[in-house]
Structure formats: C-alpha cells, structure tokens
C-alpha cells in the first residue's frame, strides 16, 4: 500500500498467509505450516478441556467438570431436539465438530495466533465431510427412498419435476453456504480488527478512538466465534435429520 513505516499501512489479509513452519522454501501439501500447528493446538485444547475437566469424576462436580457437563448437555440436547432421538447415535461426531470449530475460533482470537477456520479450505473440508457422510447415510438407510427428499409429494404433479431440480440444487448449495458462512464470518471480523489497528498506528495521540473500537469489535468477535460454531453444528443436525427422515 504505502511506503514502509510511513503513512497508512493497511495489510488486513497478512494474518491469513500460510507459511511453512520450519522455514522450507516450498509449501507443499504435506509441509507442516502454521495451519498444521494451530489445528494441532486446537486438538490438544479440545482433549485437555474434556480430559482435565472430567479427570476427577466427582460426584458433586467442580467448576471444570460443571463446564464440561454443560457443553456436553447443550450439544446433546441440540441433537435430540433438532434431529430426533434416533440421531443420538451420531452425537459423538457432532460434539467433536462443535468443539473443534469452537476452540479453533476461540484460539484464533488470541493475538498473534492463526485462525484456521478463516480458510475456506478448512471449513469446506468440514462441510464436505458432513455433506458426503450425511448423503451416504441417507442412501444407506433408505436406499432409493432417500430421493423422496427431492420429490415434493405435497405439490401438484406437473410441478414436481421442476421442484425436484430446484430441490437437488438446494441440496448442493448447502455445503457451499455451510462452509462460506463460517470462513466468511471469521475472516471479516479479523480483517476489520487489522484495519482499525492500522488507523491506531498513524493517529498518534488520537489512537484511543480506534483502540476502543477494536475492543468493541473484539467482544463482538467473541460472540461471533461461539455463535458460528453453534450455527455450523445446528445445520449439521438439520442435514442429519433430512438424511434420517427424508420424507417431508
């Protein structure tokens, strides 16, 4: 943008650059990068949250165990109300998805850290995992009866083929919007913080205005981080319900 050190230097997207961890010249698909590092930290954080929280297995739960039980109960309740009782079989994978997204969002809020969920490559992998497994599950459970999901029997017969095309397209739109929503939300807020930080850099004494704004955006980002993990999980439950009960 501008000359280094002088004037307004806004580089909001620099924080999303993927760089090799050990200074390799080339970035190949197997190169350990900062994405690898922060995903690994996320996995460790999820494991630590559950293992340390439930380690004492107290009859009367302490603070940590209480929190773990709260999260567990929250997600279990969500699966049961949204997808039905027979979806509880899939509760472990849904809790895993929720915790992974939640903690990678929250770890990404630590200054100087890297937000893995701001990359569409990451969120699309998660969304495609859900999409492919839910589709396979639907065909496995209902064979060709799963296609009833696209055949709206409530509509008049001549309209049904047209509606079926639209329904099939809606089905394929879902993983796209599922992944874009999470990545877009995470990226937008982080980029905005960087833009305000650049203003703070040049304003000198008046810098407190952008700093106050950054604090406010940070609080909003904390909310967004939690809500997006929730939204991703609840949509996973909705798709799971469609696979288990395809007839409308």
């Amino acid at each position: 943008m501008a000359a280094e050190g002088q004037g307004l230097v806004v580089k909001p997207m620099d924080q999303f650059v993927i760089s090799p961890l050990f200074g390799e010249a080339q970035l190949l698909w197997y190169t350990p990068s900062n994405v690898t590092l922060w995903m690994f930290l996320t996995v460790i954080a999820v494991a630590a949250f559950f293992l340390l929280g439930t380690m004492r297995r107290a009859e009367v739960p302490g603070r940590g165990q209480m929190f773990v039980e709260l999260v567990y109960g929250f997600v279990r309740n969500m699966v049961e109300t949204v997808a039905g009782r027979d979806a509880l079989k899939f509760f472990p994978i849904i809790l895993t998805i929720f915790m992974f997204i939640l903690l990678s969002n929250l770890l990404g809020l630590i200054p100087m850290s890297f937000t893995t969920t701001s990359h569409i490559a990451v969120t699309a992998t998660l969304a495609l995992t859900v999409f492919v497994s839910v589709t396979l599950l639907g065909f496995y459970k209902h064979r060709l009866g799963f296609l009833k999901l696209f055949w709206i029997s409530a509509a008049p017969l001549p309209l049904r083929p047209v509606l079926a095309v639209i329904e099939v397209m809606s089905y394929f739109v879902r993983p796209v919007s599922h992944s874009i929503r999470l990545a877009g939300n995470m990226m937008a807020g982080h980029a905005m913080i960087k833009v305000f930080a650049a203003f703070a850099g040049i304003l000198g004494f008046g810098a407190f205005v952008p700093i106050v704004a950054i604090s406010a955006i940070y609080a909003l980002e904390l909310l967004v981080a939690i809500i997006q993990a929730y939204v991703f999980t609840i949509l996973t439950c909705v798709y799971l319900r469609d696979a288990l009960h395809p007839s409308h």
Binding site: I166, E167, M169, S170, F172, V173, I180, G184, V231
Partner: protein
Amino acid sequence: MTREVLTEVGSLSIHRASVCLETELMPHPKKSEMSGTIQSRIATAKEELRPQAIAPHPAEGAQLAWRMAIDLVAGIGVGAAIGYGLGSLIGYLPILLAAFTLLGFAAGVNLMMRSAREFRRQQEERSCN
C-alpha cells in the same frame, strides 16, 4: 354460585397444570393482589399465567439474516457454476448458463423459505403451547 366458582377454580387449576414449566415456577401472588372478588382474582391469575412470547436475542435474528443472504448468493453461484460446466461440456453455453443461474436463484429462495419456516417453528415451540 358457589358451584360455579368451584368449577371455575377447578378449570383454572387444570389450566395451571397444563402450562409449561417456566410459568409453573412463578411465585404466588402477593397479599395486595388478593383483594377484590374471586372472579376478578381469577381473571388476573389467568392473565398472569398466559404464556408470553419470548423475544429472540438480536444476535440470533442477525444470524438468520446472514444465513438467508449467504444461501441466496451461494445458490446463484452454484447455479452459475453448474450451468457453465454443463454448457462447456455439451455446448449451448449461454442458454444453460442463464437457465441454471435462474434455477440456482430459485434454489437459494427455497433454502431461504425453509430457514424462515424453521425459525417460525422454533419461535412457536419457544412460546410453549
């Protein structure tokens, strides 16, 4: 008269039992509210027990709006991509591109309507019965 009042009270207690848990946990009316005829007391008690719709959190509404907007845009994008892919494979690129973009838009609207329906159902469930 007494019989009438008793049946009224009986139906009220059934009504009280049928309302959902949150309203069930309400404290008993204070002494000052105990004045007046039994009819008016029944009326105020009924008014108190009527389930009230709980306003959704503003962030929830914003999330729904975002979800709809992204569904719509993603629908158009996916439709255009499918149209372009099919068109360059089997020819008739302009026609297929236009047709599938429109279909993608329809798919986006369809998803939007579905999430709106879901939201309304949630609201109805939340305001219990």
